[in-house]
Amino acid sequence: MTLVWRFLPLTLVMVVLIGLPPLLDVGLQNVMVNVLIAALFATAFNLLIGQGGMLSFGHAAFYGVGAFAVMHLLVAIERGGLDFPTPLLPLAGAVAGMVVGLFTGYFATIRSGVYFALVTLALAEMLHALAPHWEGLFGGEAGISSMRMPWGGINFGQVIEVYYLTLAWVVIAFGLLYAYTRTPMGRLTLALRDNEERLRFMGYNVHATKVVVFTLSATFAGLAGGLLAFSNEQANYQLFEVHISAQVLLHTFVGGSTVFFGPAIGAVIFTIFAHVIGDITRSWMLYQGVIFILVVLFVPHGIGGVLTEHLRLRTHIPWRRIGRPYAIAATAALLITAASVMIIEFLEALFSPRYFAARRQVDMGFPPFERFGYVWEPFSVLTWLLPLVLGIVGLFLLLRVRHQVAELWSEARESAAAQGRPAP
């Protein structure tokens, strides 16, 4: 029973990952490739922050380096006739990530905390400032582009072929990363996060351990970058941007950095959302930022943390009694989200250049605008009262059930503790 429980979700995910893509169109297949890459990148990043306790603000450096390594190899194969098995190309990204990670990690890990974060930030920014000017290595501002060459009967021209290769690499990488957490070294990594001082007292070489963790994280980040380059057939200096480092940070923390699969969950959700919502609204980045802040404020362990906590206490939670408050809370969340989205979208519509152009036509008056398929008057009470009421009702409901949920949860925790299962 427990064995089935443990492997059921994983098997389901694998079935979806293998079976779904052929049914999708090319655009969505491409999204799936990006989802896989983002999941790998976030998990590699989490090895450093979630397990090792080192907050890096410059992981884009290794991502980008991995991408450029693969591009150089692609160029060498295409123009120089180098004979290299195409499926192994992403490895070049991993190797490049490892080499750069080892070198920079040696220096970065001399410092810890805020100073470590600043060193990594400076490293990535240096590459970002240097790359557009370094024609030979980074292809200047235009970057490098090339073509995947056919190999072994597969021509890698279709997205689905790229997808399955990416899937293979990502599964291997996840396997290795998970296996790592089970090794003594993996345990040591956790100790590094929890109590570095103690580790030092026990005679471990803390700096060397940190360098190993850093290098591993950089290696898998490089692999993710390599896969991206393999899929896009191009790389440019924008891969080193702060936004890339920020994105992976967001994925990791919203997903939950204390759980192995948490960052991957965050990456999957955000990448799919970005694709779906990014087309509809221009404020997607704003929503992303708000979600991130809310998670940092109220859910410090992220989605993954909440899920595992439910799983851990599944026999102690009074499911029957908690159902109603949960449903009310979900409704409240929905109402608040609707209200916030309405207000943001209204503002977006009113401050957009398009609306300004419309105002010009009516002598700088305030013509009605269209959003969500309806026409709204900018100064009518209804336009603003509707989201306001929705938001207030939602907030009221949320505040009302908050204590109920908290009470039921503390009951569950107590009953678990009584049975000798304290919080981890």
Binding site: V114, Y115, A122, L123, S283, M285, F292, V296, P300, L347
Partner: protein, 314 residues
Amino acid sequence: MLEFILVSTLNGVVYGLLLFMVSAGLTLIFGMMGVLNFAHASFYMLGAYIAYTVTRHIDFWVGLLVAPVLVAMIGVLVERYLLRRVHSHGHAHELLLTFGLAFIFEELVKLFYGDFPVNYAMPDHLRFAAFTIFDADYPFYRVFIGLVAIAMFVALYLLLSRTRVGLVVRAAERLPVMAEALSHNVPLVFMGVFGVGAGLAGLAGAVAGAFFPTNPNMALELGIIVFVVVVVGGLGSLAGSLVASLMIGVFSSFAVGLDWSLAGLLSYVGLGEWARAVGGLFTLTLSSISGTVPYLLMLIVLLVRPAGLMGERN
């Protein structure tokens, strides 16, 4: 050559003073609370945009007054209702929170003002030449930026070293627990310092935004340089960040005009041809990689002397 040196030095000093205006608040906040505020440069941007809005509807000088006050209020709210909540989760969460805030501020600015530069310009009565050097007019507004920064530094210095408020602030910075035991309201002091720091950045934005471009990227562009300044000067040291600001300001203004390269340097020992043939790093000119040098400087300082030029603690 003399003209180049003189003009570059002047521009560099002014730019450095501007950097100082922004970094002063950041270094104070770090010194006191240990919070590295990623959203600090966003306060600079908000200052510029608020001043732009006020200038458009009322007047430039009113904007110069209103912007820092409003930004300081935003800073106070951020400290009181957001930062303080995550304080118990540790520094990593504070870092992440300000990081997310920087993100949101940028997107909000894009929402209201669009993803392009706005036309925030100085008023015409400030648009004249301060003096003439080598037949070129030197704009008065640059001098004005420098003067505002100097006035700010003097005021800050006097406030911290000569008044009772400054005394409490310094005590709260050095030994917060002891200051609290002596019945000073340390959280209130923190909130105040955060607000004042944000306000200073807002003032810098209001002043500089009228001269340099005001766009949604300005926070990101300046933000990382400000980190460099604060780190190089020593986290928590006002005087250190003044020196570092001037250094980096003068350096960047010189580097833009110099086409020195490693190959050029090597040609003095007869290796110029070889280096040019190798290419790559050797032929990059100083002007094209000037953006890298501050980061390199920051790396070296962090690795060799993390306390910075004038910091006392690690």
